[in-house]
């Protein structure tokens, strides 16, 4: 069966190359039969990659240790859910999985546009198939997931214990989905550049895909943070590791694009800039894969490294050259007549928002690659770690938060003093009141304090927008408040969905600021009966509990947690010792409330003296980061759901093109 898998991958590569070639040829010679042929080959490519992926998954679940990949990343004792996760736990499987998601999205795009965008589609198909061909070439010629061992292994080496966590079941697929779906707007941008159809059509078609990609990048980053928080056990959730940065950069640029594209739609401006952003997002996804796979920069998240780096770099260079060349070629046609009329306008606010977002992305990129640059220039290895990224990005983040409050409510074109007063009196008043309250509460002057005050300002602008929309509807239609609120959101989902997303982002900002600035940490060595005080909590060490199964053994310190003399919880921070490979891992015990997390790690245990060393942290408001993620998801769902006008536009556009054809 595994030979069938290899054959399927080879045939998929042939189909991808054929599809790309015939699609372009069909478009150039205006031959519908060739274009159709290219589309069908793309469908076949997906079917073959799906078959290969299914066969690899089957081999993993059947514990077929004659396959090198199965023997390297699973074992007979690995639970089924993690056996499924081992499909993307190693390099070979993850590249095949990438090709699977890519060809799946390609198929969805073909199906969605079967009656639309006929001029663009051959180039869209060709672009997506060229990307698929690149990944399938790697899987076929360089890193074959169906490689057989000369002698089948008796037992597998198992999945890295750090990856045996439920967040790892969803973090990589979310990130891959975000990365891979960024290729859809990219493919449409290339198609628009190739055909010269540079209007808003390609942007309207890919709006949901861009949001979809952004949404999964957001989730991927958040799930990764949750995994780091629970598994790495150092009390934090973001270490500015190169691989974390690689996932964060496309998110930042994608966020910039989602904002600047509104300016193009409303004011017919920034066409070149939007093209550049779309191409940059895609390039950064490839750059991220290069960082993860090449080992050029050491990372705690690089569980697989290989010599694939040069292939990704060449592919990245080709992407930049081709897309950059197309932009330069189309530059005269991309220029638009739209212009900004005042710095006090929504257009200007969005431009500065873009500047800061791309600026942060650049700062992250610069910090990530600077060790390599330093080594080239000086021959000296240096480290660019969290203190650098925090010091550079924290002030920029605060400016971004401020612009998040200004952008959505300042007037288009030009704001007058009257407009400004009407738009900002309440939010600024709220922000200033919050700032005064923080001063009275004794919160020291800091970026965290500024973040809290600005968060209230932003929430004030959003609340005001909801309130005014609802009141206007109530005044005109005499609707009840809940009905008016629901209708005002339902009739303009994109706008109000965006506001809800902003609420989620504010929540994330608050969680990050509070947990970074006001964390309490205690390290204490204790014998049974000893009590450690951590912030408001008293932790009494009771005993050690041990357990063992065929897969691992574990050691847990049992701690009674009291607050104000009342016992409120029993926490059991663990150390696990996996048998294959022999590796200890940390299992954090976390008591999470809306106010703070009590996060406890078992540092060490001496069986002779019965002494344990615990590291305990009180991380304020961390849960608001995850709640912010939920709110963000809700807001995206609202924004992406088509309203009646959009549904009508889609039907009309499809019918029009069908008639024209």
């Amino acid at each position: 069966m595994t030979d069938l898998g290899r054959l399927a991958v080879c045939l998929a590569l042939v189909c991808a190359a054929f599809s790309a070639g015939t699609s372009i040829l069909g478009a150039l010679r205006r031959r519908a039969d060739l274009v159709r042929s290219g589309t069908h080959a793309a469908y076949a490519c997906f079917a073959l990659v799906a078959l290969a992926t299914g066969l690899l998954l089957r081999a993993l679940l059947a514990r077929d240790f004659s396959l090198e990949y199965v023997a390297a990343y699973s074992s007979s004792t690995l639970p089924t859910n993690y056996t499924v996760a081992s499909l993307w736990g190693g390099q070979k499987g993850s590249l095949l999985f990438w090709a699977f998601v890519l060809t799946l999205f390609s198929t969805l795009v073909q199906w969605q546009n079967r009656d639309r965008n006929r001029d663009l589609m051959p180039y869209v198909t060709a672009t997506m198939m060229v990307i698929a061909a690149f990944f399938l070439s790697l899987v076929t010629f360089i890193t074959d997931p169906f490689e057989r061992l000369a002698q089948p292994a008796v037992e597998g080496a198992d999945l890295n214990p750090l990856l045996q966590n439920y967040w790892m079941m969803i973090h990589p697929p979310s990130l891959y989905t975000g990365y891979v779906s960024a290729s859809v707007p990219f493919a449409f941008a290339i198609a628009a550049l190739a055909t010269g159809r540079l209007g808003d059509q390609w942007i309207r078609t890919t709006r949901r895909w861009a949001l979809f990609s952004w949404f999964f990048l957001s989730l991927g980053n958040l799930f990764g943070a949750m995994w780091a928080y629970e598994v790495l056990g150092w009390g934090g959730y973001w270490a500015w590791d190169p691989v974390e940065n690689a996932a964060f950069m496309p998110w930042l640029v994608s966020t910039a694009y989602l904002h600047s594209v509104m300016i193009q739609e409303k004011k017919d401006m920034l066409r070149v800039w939007n093209m550049v952003l779309v191409l940059l997002v895609f390039s950064l996804t490839i750059f991220g894969t290069f960082l993860t796979r090449s080992g050029v920069i050491s990372s705690v998240h690089s569980f697989t490294q290989s010599g694939l780096g040069p292939f990704f770099i060449w592919f990245l260079l080709a992407v930049i050259l081709v897309s950059g060349g197309l932009i330069v070629y189309r530059l005269p046609e991309l220029r638009t007549s739209g212009t900004i009329e005042s710095f006090l306008s929504r257009e200007a606010a969005f431009l500065f928002n873009n500047l800061i977002l791309v600026g942060i992305a650049f700062a992250v990129f610069w910090g990530t690659v600077f060790p390599v640059i330093s080594e080239w220039v000086r021959g000296v290895k240096i480290t660019v770690g969290p203190p650098f990224f925090n010091r550079v990005n924290a002030p920029l983040g605060v400016v971004l938060l401020f612009l998040m409050g200004v952008g959505p409510v300042i007037a288009w074109r030009r704001a007058t003093p009257h407009n400004l007063w009407r738009a900002f009196a309440f939010p600024v008043g709220s922000g200033v009141a919050a700032w005064c309250a923080l001063l009275v509460a004794g919160v020291p002057f800091s970026l965290a304090q500024a973040t809290f005050a600005l968060s209230v300002f932003v929430l004030g602008t959003i609340a005001q927008e909801f309130w005014r929309g609802m009141r206007a509807r109530q005044a005109m239609l005499k609707e009840r408040a809940p009905q008016a609120l629901a209708r005002v959101i339902g009739k303009n989902r994109r706008r109000y969905g965006g506001y809800v997303v902003h609420v989620g982002i504010v929540s994330i900002f608050v969680g990050i600021a509070a947990s970074s600035a006001f964390r309490i940490e205690v390290q204490q060595t204790m014998k049974p009966g000893d009590v450690a005080t951590v912030g408001r909590y008293a932790l009494r060490y009771d005993r050690i509990e041990t357990s063992e199964d065929g897969h691992m053994s574990s050691l847990a310190a049992v701690l009674d947690v009291s607050l104000g003399g009342q016992q409120i919880a029993v926490l059991k921070p663990e150390k696990r010792f996996y048998k294959k490979p022999q590796q200890p891992t940390t299992e954090v015990a976390n008591r999470s409330t809306l106010r703070e997390d009590l996060y406890v790690v078992l540092g060490s245990y001496d069986p002779k003296s019965q002494l344990v060393t615990i590291l305990a942290y009180v991380n304020p408001l961390v849960v608001w980061i995850w709640i912010g993620g939920l709110v963000l998801a809700m807001g995206t769902a609202i924004a992406v759901w088509p309203g009646p006008a959009e549904r009508r536009a889609e039907v009309t556009s499809g019918a029009f093109e069908a008639e024209r054809a």
Binding site: G359, F370, P386
Partner: protein, 159 residues
């Protein structure tokens, strides 16, 4: 203008020296641990590494403790570690020599991009048609009502 300059000079005269001569608090153990990267390969700072009896982090923490106990300054302690392990032990680039580029490039790039943005926008401001201020679609009640009216018309069409 002169008055403003005088006020600014007075402010600077008052504030800057107080910033310069203000007493620097003694460095803390965690502050130094955050400034150093653990050499066990975890990629985290010495403070964040929680490897079980880490062969790199634990001795480094002990050394920091003893150096702080001996009254050494932050700079001396970091220099001692850099001499021992190489510059890579510092968790962020020093603000010296080539390493300055690490710190200033992001801000310089932002400044240059921001300046270009402002210059381009300014050059286009003149081209914009003279529209009476406030005629723009402000998100006040009028704009809200206009939007609502559009949406209602749309709803009627849907029905």
């Amino acid at each position: 203008m002169t008055a403003r300059a005088v006020v600014l000079a007075l402010l600077l005269a008052g504030v800057v020296p107080s910033m310069v001569v203000g007493e620097t608090p003694p460095p803390t153990q965690s502050e130094i641990e955050e400034a150093l990267t653990c050499q066990c390969g975890c990629g985290l700072t010495v403070h964040s590494c929680n490897h079980l009896q880490c062969p790199s982090g634990e001795p480094m923490k002990d050394e920091i403790r003893s150096r702080l106990g001996a009254g050494e300054t932050r700079e001396t302690i970091l220099a001692a570690f850099a001499a021992k392990y190489g510059e890579k032990v510092l968790s962020s680039p020093t603000m010296q020599g080539f390493n300055w580029f690490a710190w200033i490039t992001p801000f310089a790039a932002l400044l240059v991009a921001g300046t270009i943005l402002v210059v381009v926008v300014r050059s286009r401001l003149g081209r914009a048609a003279a529209v009476p201020a406030g005629a723009a679609a402000a998100p006040g009640d009028d704009a809200m009502r206009a939007r609502l009216a559009r949406e209602l018309a749309e709803m009627d069409r849907d029905a």
